[in-house]
């Protein structure tokens, strides 16, 4: 008691004690924080592999083919990567695991195999095996999987006390392990030098521009709705291209053509590319007043506008404007304006816009009404105000429309009963508005008959037939075919294709051709009745 009292009188003690106590307090708090801190994840990212592990493990050894992790409990995770030689690299993991087990047995006679499992390993689900061994004191889990010519072993060794306790942490290491792949650098090529476009005065065209119209185009699995001045009149009903003429010009001509191409935009505008828009104008560069320019546009759809201008040999002004829009990395919409004897004003170009672009597996335009599909075929007989043929087809809803990337207004294709095993339809029907004579059409269909796989019979007239109150000329034939599968022709089924072709005469000449195929099936009268339900209407162009 006296000693403490003396101590308390000492000034040094009075000064040092609070400081010492504070330091002790800080130490106690720090230690408890460190002890209580949850393990955090660490990543090891090398040129050869990527590893994720929690901070309770420390890396003890690391080479490009081996990583050794150790836990404070002295448990270990050993990852080794072996390059297989020519003999073994083509073997599957199933073939190799037997050798692994044999080697383990030879080198570790005191370890007993408890379990073996054929499983998938890592987040990439590589095929592999897990093996569990134990001896008196320890357990070992070995995970083996193959990546190309590499065999990867992850072995986890721990004393029995710790084995299950650390198992979850080890499973996370296995799950996240991966080999790195080579990265390839592309040579960057696209360099598109831009140059301002020059527009001439074009009062003749400008005074006519008032309002616009929405038009559509569908091909290459894209459907695009776009706007053009409504002075442009449609010259045909091709749905896969646009073909228009500017009306009302006192002199000269101006046309618009649109297309969807399966091409990359840079290929189309890179001067060095053999597929570019520049190549077709190469010969015009000889004209003394030839000018051209290219600018980027960005009005919701990425693209470029190209324009050139020159006087041709007859001293007539010619101008071309090409608007290219990106639909995706390998599809573009092209709208081409061609003017002769008149120039293309900027105002007209600015009126052209894309409204919407969608990617469809098929561009289908049949409408479903109740239990029927309605489709239309159209045929212009001349480019004047004459009425055009409009065929409205009605089919039961069980028929499925098939897109052939063809012009949907003059050819429609349907299938009935898709057979999943054979990967084909039981029946197919094609409608065409043929402008050529009947015999040419028959020759064309006959030329597509396969002759190499078995018996065939060219189309022969079998009189007339009345279906749905309409009179048809009837032709019957068939051929043997071999079915095929995507990319290859390995799947070879022989089957007989029964063909019936019906011709329906149209008033202004020409025919509606109904081509029915039974793929290994007979064509019955009820099928013929189903596919000949249509109306012929006369319409006029706007």
């Amino acid at each position: 008691m006296r000693k403490i009292q003396d101590l308390m009188k000492n000034k040094k003690v009075i000064f040092i004690t609070p400081i010492a106590l504070s330091i002790l307090l800080i130490l106690i708090i720090s230690i408890s924080l460190i002890m209580g801190r949850k393990p955090y994840l660490k990543t090891l990212d090398t040129n050869d592999y990527k590893l994720v592990y929690d901070s309770t493990w420390k890396i003890k050894e690391k080479t490009n083919t081996k990583i050794l992790l150790r836990h404070k409990s002295k448990s270990e995770v050993n990852i080794e990567i072996m390059t297989l030689n020519t003999e073994n690299k083509y073997q599957s993991i199933k073939d190799l695991i037997d050798e692994v087990i044999y080697n383990i047995k030879e080198n570790n006679p005191d370890y007993n195999l408890l379990k073996m499992e054929d499983t998938t390993l890592t987040k990439n689900n590589y095929s592999g095996y897990k093996l569990l061994y134990e001896n008196e004191d320890n357990e070992v889990l070995i995970s083996v999987f193959k990546r190309g010519d590499k065999l990867i072993f992850i072995s986890y060794l721990a004393n029995s006390t710790y084995f299950d306790i650390l198992l979850d942490s080890v499973n996370n290491i296995i799950y996240n392990f991966d080999m790195q792949e080579e990265v390839y650098a592309l040579v960057s090529r696209a360099s598109i030098p831009e140059k301002e476009l020059e527009y001439k005065e074009s009062k003749q065209v400008e005074i006519l521009l008032k309002s616009s119209q929405d038009v559509e185009i569908a091909s290459n699995n894209y459907y695009v709705n776009y706007t053009i001045p409504d002075n442009f009149r449609s010259l045909d009903f091709l749905s896969n291209t646009g073909n228009y003429e500017f009306e009302g010009l006192e002199s000269g001509s101006l046309t618009l053509v649109s297309n969807i191409l399966n091409r990359n935009i840079y290929e189309y505008v890179d001067k060095d590319s053999s597929l570019s828009l520049y190549t077709r104008f190469d010969s015009y560069k000889n004209y003394s007043d030839f000018t051209e320019g290219l600018i980027k546009i960005d009005n919701g759809h990425d693209g470029y506008i190209y324009k050139n201008s020159y006087h041709n040999n007859e001293n007539t002004l010619e101008e071309n404007v090409i608007i290219v829009y990106t639909l995706d990395k390998n599809h573009i919409l092209i709208i081409e304006l061609k003017a002769m004897g008149v120039s293309i004003p900027q105002e007209l170009v600015q009126m052209i816009k894309i409204n919407s672009a969608s990617n469809y597996a098929n561009y289908l335009k049949s409408e479903v009404q109740g239990n029927q599909i309605t489709s239309e075929l159209k045929r212009i007989t001349s480019a004047t105000d004459e009425p055009y043929d409009n065929i409205r087809i009605k089919l039961p809803i069980k028929y499925q429309e098939l897109d052939d990337n063809a012009n949907i207004y003059s050819v429609r294709h349907f299938g009935l009963n898709y057979n999943l095993d054979k990967k084909m339809y039981d029946y197919e029907v094609k409608y065409q508005l043929a402008t050529k004579d009947k015999n040419s059409e028959i020759d064309r269909i006959n030329s597509l008959f396969k002759k190499a796989y078995g018996s065939y019979k060219y189309l022969e007239k079998k009189g007339n037939i009345t279906l749905n109150g309409k009179n048809f000329e009837r032709y019957i034939g068939g051929y043997t075919d071999l079915s095929g599968i995507m990319f290859t022709n390995l799947n070879r089924y022989n089957y007989y294709v029964n063909k019936e072709v019906l011709f329906f005469g149209l008033d202004k000449g020409g025919f509606l051709v109904v081509e029915v195929s039974g793929n290994g099936k007979e064509i019955t009268n009820s099928i013929l009745e189903e596919v000949t339900n249509f109306q012929v209407l006369e319409q006029k162009l706007k």
Binding site: T65, S73, K74, E76, N78, M82, T86, E87, D95, D98, E99, V100, N103, N108, L113, L114, K115, E117, N125, Y126, Y133, E134, E136, D137, N138, V140, I142, G148, D149, L157, S160, T161, F163, D164, I165, E181, E182, Y184, L186, V187, A190, N264, I265, Y266, T326, K329, N330, A361, N362, L364, L402, L420, L482, I485, M486, F487, T488, L490, N491, Y493
Partner: protein, 569 residues
């Protein structure tokens, strides 16, 4: 002094126990040698060892082509994963791909419409590569293939080409939904790409390429099997694959009569081998009766049988042939020679393979079911280390023979194809050595080792019972066993239990049912946890975590064990 000795001894024992924990499990790559089959060779009569050799592909070339294969795949399909590619990246990739296409210098000829010598080899090659490859690039773009890793790559030489096959596992590919044709759906499959590289000015260029989806191939091979009928021959139409680059004129004059003659002369020389375990078939193969009572098949099949089966049955048509034993094997060329109990009084005639030319005809007779035989015919596309033909044969059936037009065997199918439309046959010269060796021996004198003896010596894997251990102190168990009332709610055999630093781990063995997942056997325990206020913070098929303020419970499935780890927080 005494004290010092005691301290030293104590330290020594502590070190020893620490050392024991970091113990000696001798498994590292240095000990892994893949030489078991060499060890097995010591069991066979040395006089039976074959000398026929196959030369390996040059290592440096192999590495170069492996790298080129991965690069070509990247140029063709873009980066791994389904990240978006910009138009500029696509353009650069397309250009780089086109630069990889084989484009030879074509000799000129002003008399032709093209300006080139259209009869030259270079012109024909140009038509193959430059006309087809750009189109393949575009069509693959349309299919929107998404891949996540490179699979196995297999490289071989074939005539003046180097053929590299890469499998891309678990790819997604766009396919039109047959139920709603205005939609795409992504289907998953394995994509197999076959690259044919040709050397041009010290560089390898892409000459030809074709692609296959594994599901479609499986369907094809299933259909081949389905046409076999009892004791008859099913003739598959001659197979013309890649007719852009091979000449099929000789094949076109092959008649069914020739095929039937070969069948009739050899149907009793082709055997069907079945390896079974507990009456379930684990593997099948074909074999050829190479000499009176001697069958040759692949080592690949025999090894698989030794690992996974209990016995092998051999049939020929509706006749059962008893197996005496294994005469010898050659793992390098992948064959195994078996001896039957009785002589057969029939065996095949052997022809010559070394003098065969590319585009010569080969006829393969094969049985997929053991019921009947199927005849597949094609042409030779290469004759080097092996015979390679245009006949697609499933990798699952090895050991079938290849005949020439005279009905002589010219090759043995190894079930290891160059790619899915080029099958590989061991040349008959290897089989001739077998015939020569055993011709002069008496059948009874041919030494064998039985299947069972070989299996028990090298291939038998015995599984052991766990050592039961429980080192949880009673006081701790009193505390932890209350969690989820675990003793009552898990009715499985406890094989391991341990306690360390506030953590208890329990391993249960599922000896109740082979069909019920061990995770499903913990449902009552889980329910009890939930009822006592534990919250589920993770829930997967193989791991569940429950937590409250004081404890964390991890439930895991490992092999058929249920493992529960309880952590005091």
């Amino acid at each position: 002094m005494k004290r010092k000795i005691i301290i030293i001894i104590t330290i020594f024992f502590i070190t020893l126990s620490v050392y024991a924990i970091t113990t000696k499990f001798n498994f590292s790559l240095e000990t892994l040698s893949f030489n078991k089959s060499n060890t097995i060779m010591t069991n066979f009569n040395k006089d039976y060892t074959l000398t026929y050799k196959i030369t390996d592909l040059d290592k440096e070339l192999e590495n170069e082509i492996t790298s080129l294969t991965k690069k070509t795949t990247y140029l063709l399909l873009g980066e791994m994963g389904d990240g978006t590619e910009t138009s500029e990246e696509y353009y650069n990739r397309h250009e780089d791909f086109l630069n990889l296409v084989y484009l030879p210098d074509i000799p000129k000829d002003s008399k032709t419409s093209t300006g080139y010598d259209e009869n030259s080899r270079e012109y024909k090659d140009y038509l193959v590569s430059s006309m087809t490859l750009p189109k393949v690039f575009l069509s693959l773009s349309e299919y929107g293939v998404i891949y996540n890793s490179y699979g196995d790559i297999q490289i071989t030489t074939s005539s003046d080409l180097i053929i590299s096959t890469i499998v891309l596992p678990n790819i997604k590919i766009k396919q039109v939904n047959p139920d709603n044709r205005s939609e795409y759906e992504y289907v998953t499959s394995n994509l197999i790409l076959h690259y044919y590289f040709k050397e041009l000015k010290n560089d390898y260029k892409l000459y030809y390429l074709y692609t296959e989806l594994e599901d479609d191939l499986n369907l094809y091979f299933d259909n081949v099997a389905s046409v076999e009928k009892l004791n008859t021959l099913a003739i598959i139409p001659p197979y013309e694959n890649n007719s852009d680059i091979y000449d099929y004129s000789k094949l076109n004059s092959l008649s069914n009569e020739t095929i039937n003659n070969i069948y009739n002369a050899n149907k009793q020389n082709i055997v069907y081998l079945t390896a079974s375990y507990n009456n379930s078939v684990v593997k099948t193969a074909n074999g050829i009766i190479i000499d009176d009572g001697l069958v040759v098949t692949t080592w690949k099949f025999l090894e698989h049988a030794l690992i996974n089966a209990q016995n092998i049955e051999i049939t020929s048509g509706d006749k059962t042939l008893k197996l005496n034993g294994i005469v010898t094997i050659d793992p390098d060329i992948d064959i195994a020679i078996l001896k039957l109990e009785d002589k057969t009084n029939n065996y095949v005639k052997l022809g010559n393979a070394n003098n065969l030319q590319v585009s010569d005809v080969g006829i393969n007779l094969l049985t997929s079911t053991g019921i009947g035989l199927t005849a597949n015919s094609g042409i030779l596309v290469a004759n080097a280390n092996y015979l390679e033909t245009s006949i697609p044969i499933s990798k699952d059936i090895s050991g079938s023979p290849l005949f020439n037009l005279n009905g002589e065997v010219i090759g043995l199918n190894l079930g290891e194809n160059v790619n899915t439309s080029i099958s590989r046959f061991l040349k008959v010269e290897a089989l001739k050595e077998i015939q020569d060796k055993f011709k002069s021996l008496n059948f009874e004198d041919i030494d064998t080792i039985s299947f069972q003896d070989l299996k028990s010596k090298y291939y038998y894997i015995s599984y052991n019972e766990e050592i039961i251990k429980n080192n949880i102190p009673k006081s701790k168990w009193k505390e932890f066993s209350k969690i989820g009332n675990i003793e009552k709610n898990i009715n499985l055999e406890l094989v391991k239990a341990s306690y360390k630093d506030g953590i208890v781990s329990l391993r249960y063995k599922n000896s109740i049912s082979n069909y019920t997942d061990s995770m499903n056997l913990s449902l009552e325990f889980i329910e009890s946890l939930e009822n006592s206020g534990f919250k589920n913070t993770l829930n997967t098929n193989t791991k569940k975590i429950y937590e409250n303020k004081h404890y964390q419970v991890i439930i895991m499935k490992e092999f058929d064990y249920l493992i529960v780890v309880e952590v005091k927080l």
